[in-house]
């Protein structure tokens, strides 16, 4: 019954009512990431404004509840933050996900994303949670390189 604790109410809520879903203009960079083992995919756009402030993260994709909810949470967490701030959240989220359930999550940094802690115990699902976050990291890095 561990797996059901993976499906936290908050995750199911984001899955059923995704925040900020849909691709929007304007954007600086668009990336497309795929999880080849399960076919989950995401297209993600980033618009960075003055002083490195994220103006919009828009996305579209298909996949399981974990991958879709993770994209929705990402959208919420990035809104109004600077690139630098969001990258440190991405790093903390990655650390949590790759911790095989042994890592204590920093709720102050992660906010709602802490709901994904249970996913870390399922190596096969970690990639689902990370898909949109890795796409986001890729997009902002490319955006900065422009």
């Amino acid at each position: 019954m561990i797996g059901e604790s993976m499906y936290q109410e908050l995750i199911l809520e984001h899955y059923k009512h995704p925040q900020g879903r849909g691709l929007r203009e304007p954007y600086d960079t668009e990336v497309h990431h795929v999880n080849p083992t399960c076919g989950d995919e995401i297209t993600l756009r980033v618009k960075v404004g003055d002083a490195g402030r994220i103006e919009d993260v828009s996305y579209d994709g298909q996949g399981c509840s974990i991958s879709q909810a993770a994209a929705s949470v990402l959208h919420e967490l990035t809104a109004g933050s600077t690139v630098e701030e969001t990258l440190s959240v991405v790093d903390e989220f990655t650390r949590l996900m790759q911790g095989r359930g042994q890592v204590e999550a920093d709720e102050d940094v992660l906010g709602d994303a802490v709901a994904f802690a249970g996913v870390a115990k399922f190596p096969a699902r970690v990639k689902c949670a990370l898909l949109s976050w890795m796409a986001y990291k890729d997009a902002v890095v490319r955006s900065a390189a422009r």
Binding site: D40, Q62, I66
Partner: protein, 418 residues
């Protein structure tokens, strides 16, 4: 339980894993045999006994153990040959899996080392597969087309999940037609006689990927009348690491070796070699000895039960499951919903719920092992406009009680995501 002549409760005792408990005290409900089957004690013990008491290399060791190992390895070939009705034991080539067998055949085409006109392949020539193939019967042919400039074509799949043998796919330029005997997703059993007739008219050779049929039905090489048949041991209660290519003897003779090395030769000079006759020509290096012997034991086990009885049992389970799944709201079966020309593999989607979530909850809450994803048949899923399915696949040890558990599990999944 079921009313077939199969004593399922007794059979289940032959498979120790089926009575184990999963963490949390859940019983195991194994509905993933299409992926890989479980192993009976006789297979495990045969392999253990051989490793412990008789093991040595085969073919080349001139001592007691060498001869015992060779005897056991070659007798596994005899058993497999008899099991599939091969006209000759020398037509049974051991490979490491079905993928290797399929690659071996693909490698023979358009190969400068093979002058036989049936295997010549170049620009303008055609390779025909189908949209329902496993990646292992797609990718080797894409690679061959890339190497030779030949054209890759395919039969489509109907909405019901049947092979669409439309006119114009096979032409006089077709050199090889390679299709699944039974789909690993749809469960569809393809009309081999029709495919063979089409190919023969065009002068093309026929390869059957029988990975999903040989474990579940009585299969006879002479009756099938194909040119090549590939299957694998681990789906038929045998170990992984051992597969089989059956091919007509005169074709094996014409085909070039696939891998070079020890034991596949007749004589070697510094600048050239001559090759051993088939099947050894295709078995370079030390083979998977114990795995082949394990496959022999698997064949003994299945023969003891009787493949007709296995088939009848799975048919009954499939009928029961088709009825039961129809009652699940929002469930869309991908594949034929009648018993006509179909095996015990049921793939489906649940509206609004991703298969990975279905599989996760079935496993974690109920100990039900199904496969989720595209099952190495991505083009087929694209054809149906879906990224993935949940797949339950049955074998001789499954029960209607397990089908009931699956249905209960699916209702629970729907509750979680309601």
């Amino acid at each position: 339980m079921t009313s077939t002549s199969l004593d399922v409760e007794r059979i289940r005792k032959d498979f120790p894993v089926l009575s184990r408990e999963l963490p949390g005290g859940r019983p195991l409900v194994y509905l993933d045999s299409g992926n890989s089957s479980q192993k009976p004690t006789s297979v495990v013990e045969t392999m253990r006994e051989h490793l412990a008491m008789h093991y040595s290399n085969v073919g080349r060791a001139m001592h007691v153990l060498g001869s015992e190992s060779t005897e056991a390895y070659e007798s596994a070939r005899d058993k497999v040959a008899a099991f599939i009705g091969a006209p000759s034991r020398d037509e049974v080539v051991f490979t490491k899996n079905a993928s290797e067998a399929l690659n071996l055949v693909a490698y023979s085409f358009g190969n400068p080392a093979c002058a036989d006109p049936r295997f010549t392949l170049g620009p303008g020539d055609e390779i025909v597969i189908s949209e329902m193939e496993h990646h292992s019967n797609i990718v080797p042919w894409q690679m061959l087309a890339q190497r030779t400039g030949a054209t890759l074509k395919w039969f489509g799949v109907t909405d019901e999940g049947r092979l669409d043998l439309a006119d114009g796919v096979v032409t006089e330029r077709t050199k090889i037609v390679s299709v699944a005997h039974q789909s690993n997703v749809l469960g569809t059993v393809n009309p081999v006689a029709d495919v063979v007739a089409l190919a023969r008219r065009a002068g093309a050779l026929v390869l059957l990927d029988a990975s999903q049929s040989v474990p579940h039905h009585p299969v006879d090489m002479a009756a099938l009348d194909a040119d090549f048949v590939a299957f694998t041991g681990h789906k038929m209660v045998g170990p992984s690491g051992i597969g089989v290519l059956w091919a007509r003897g005169e074709l094996l003779e014409a085909m070039p070796p696939f891998l070079g090395g020890g034991e596949m030769i007749e004589a070697v000079w510094m600048d050239r070699s001559t090759y051993a006759p088939a099947p050894h020509k295709f078995e370079a290096g030390t083979p998977p000895i114990v795995e082949a012997i394990g496959l022999g034991a698997a064949v003994d086990y299945l023969t003891g039960i009787g493949m007709a009885a296995v088939e009848a049992h799975e048919r009954e389970l499939t009928a029961y499951a088709l009825d039961a799944l129809r009652e699940v709201p929002g469930l869309r079966l991908i594949g034929p919903d009648s018993l006509d020309l179909r095996g015990g593999t049921l793939a489906f989607t649940l509206e609004g719920i991703h298969p990975h979530d279905v599989g996760q909850i079935l496993d974690d809450r109920f100990g039900i092992a199904v496969r989720v994803g595209h099952h190495c048949a991505r083009p087929l899923h694209l054809r149906f406009g879906i990224p993935a399915t949940t797949r339950a696949s049955f074998y001789l040890y499954n029960t209607t009680g397990e089908v009931d558990a699956l249905v209960r599990g699916l209702h629970h999944v729907q509750k979680v995501f309601a």
